[in-house]
């Protein structure tokens, strides 16, 4: 097995992206994601890649659009306010069917917000990262190992479906260090062919067009319908989640990313008190792992959604539970990390209520 190294989440995502064949990175500094860009600045030249600090987030995402159109594996990263700036470009990428990877190391919002860990961009990532009919595939890693694994996998998913893919991290995951085994680097000949890319036709084929402007409404409708067929395939094939101690759980917590770590500690503490708690952790936020969560409905007495925001994923949890059990919420916001003790108190209270 490859050697375990101690790395920050931000650095692990950057290194794993390079190992997945990412050779272009366009970014702009913002806390708490700056180590992604710093790592790329240091390491990209060593593999013949391009690191460029753009003049703004808007410029950076449009550079990503350009490199993706030319067939390259390309990434950008930012934190919440910066992702808002990139949202126009992300919509254009989705509209032009361009694969690319976008990292969001979330901080407290709205507005300029705080620089502390948050998950308040759930709605933005899963419902409206820009205008128009589109989705991103959104991975929500919960450990530094998963940050490396999903930064690597994101490029394959993006290329396979020709969609932009987002990694949703937060300031906690980005800043913390954990042991990680990095994926084996891909060689250039292992990367997928992109016959649609604008690489120059040398008079040997029709020219390729990368575009998101369609002035004939029916043409755009056809393209959107075709894209939604791909989304249907993604929904069918790409849902990922992890269940922890849910087999006999009365109270099922639902949490992702950094909040799932706190929830896991709270579940362990609840078990020590004799409360049958478990944790369901969505790994893909879109597609939301509805099927796996629905499967827990017959056995759970109640669900407790735990997030570092005012309650966003809870809407998807309620859709999956479909009224069959109570779904309650506990969260801290603005950049405050919930403590295992306060989550435990919410579990105990819900357990008493569910037992009545």
């Amino acid at each position: 097995m490859a050697e375990k190294v101690l790395m920050k989440g931000n650095e692990a995502m950057a290194e794993a992206a390079m190992r997945a064949g990412c050779r272009f990175f366009f970014g702009y500094p913002i806390t708490p994601q700056t180590e992604v860009a710093a790592y790329m600045a240091k390491m990209m030249p060593k593999v013949g890649g391009t690191y460029l600090q753009a003049e703004s987030e808007v410029a950076a995402i449009n550079m990503v659009y350009g490199a993706a159109a030319a067939g390259a594996r390309v990434m950008t990263s930012s934190s919440s306010p910066g992702i808002s700036l990139k949202s126009e470009g992300i919509s254009y990428m989705a509209g032009a069917d361009l694969p690319g990877v976008i990292i969001n190391v979330q901080r407290g919002g709205p507005g300029l917000g705080s620089i502390q860990p948050s998950q308040a961009d759930y709605w933005q990532a899963t419902k409206a990262t820009g205008h128009g009919d589109f989705h991103l595939v959104v991975y929500a890693p919960s450990t530094v190992q998963e940050m490396a694994d999903f930064a690597f996998k994101a490029f394959d998913t993006a290329d396979e479906y020709r969609v932009p893919v987002m990694i949703m991290a937060d300031g906690m995951l980005g800043q913390m260090m954990e042991p990680v085994v990095l994926p084996e680097p891909l060689s250039a000949d292992e990367l997928p062919e992109k016959p649609w890319a604008t690489t120059g036709h040398a008079m040997k084929r029709l020219h390729n067009v990368v575009n998101s402007l369609y002035l004939t409404a029916e043409d755009l409708e056809d393209l959107n319908r075709e894209r939604y067929e791909r989304y249907a395939t993604i929904i069918e094939n790409e849902q990922l989640s992890e269940s922890y101690l849910t087999e006999d759980a009365d109270i099922v917590l639902v949490a992702f990313g950094g909040a799932a770590r706190v929830a896991r500690s709270a579940v362990n503490a609840a078990r020590e008190q004799g409360v049958k708690a478990g944790l369901f952790r969505p790994i893909t936020l879109w597609p939301f792992p509805t099927e796996a969560l629905s499967a827990l409905v017959p056995q759970a007495k109640a669900f407790l959604d735990v997030e570092m925001n005012m309650g966003q994923m809870i809407e998807d949890v309620r859709l999956a539970v479909a009224g069959a059990a109570p779904v309650e919420f506990f969260g801290r916001t603005g950049g405050v990390i919930p403590t295992p003790d306060e989550v435990l108190a919410a579990i105990v209270a819900l357990n008493e209520k569910a037992g009545e």
């Binding site: 502390q116 260090m177 770590r261 706190v262 896991r264 990390i337």
Partner: protein, 178 residues
Amino acid sequence: MAQELSCVVAGFGGQGSLFAGKVIATAGLIEDREVSWMPSYGPEMRGGTANCSVTLSDAPIGSPLVLAPNALIALNQPSFDKFIDTVVDGGTVVVDTAMVPQLSEPAGVTVIGIPATKLCEEAGIKGLGNIVLIGKLWAEVGFCSREALDAAIAKCVPAKRPEKLEQNRRAIELGISA
């Protein structure tokens, strides 16, 4: 295997609290334990205090933020004052008395003060008070094997500064024998 270590290392920015935490985390890595290291990265770092949470465990680690440490390394008075009451019953606190003149010892907590920065200065290895205190904490609670501790120091000190490695080793010894 040793018991779980939930440690906070805290001091002024520049005293090396984040580095000290990394050494402890690296010792856990070398022993193939579950490890997490989480720094403070807020505005308090700019001219104020810097701290990190380090957990070494044999089970997967939930929240990496240590709110109830069983070990505290305090490099200055504000850090001691901020964290001393968070230490759990049975916990161990290692303090640089050259920087923390006012000590208190809550019931059930062992507070050990050594003049770490002064010991360094006298030994001609100024600025390694953080490492001296790691040595002292290790001597008190033995959070890893001696081999892992030495290997962690070797791994964390940049290879191109061999003289620094020797100084860090001496700092560890100073702490262990203090």
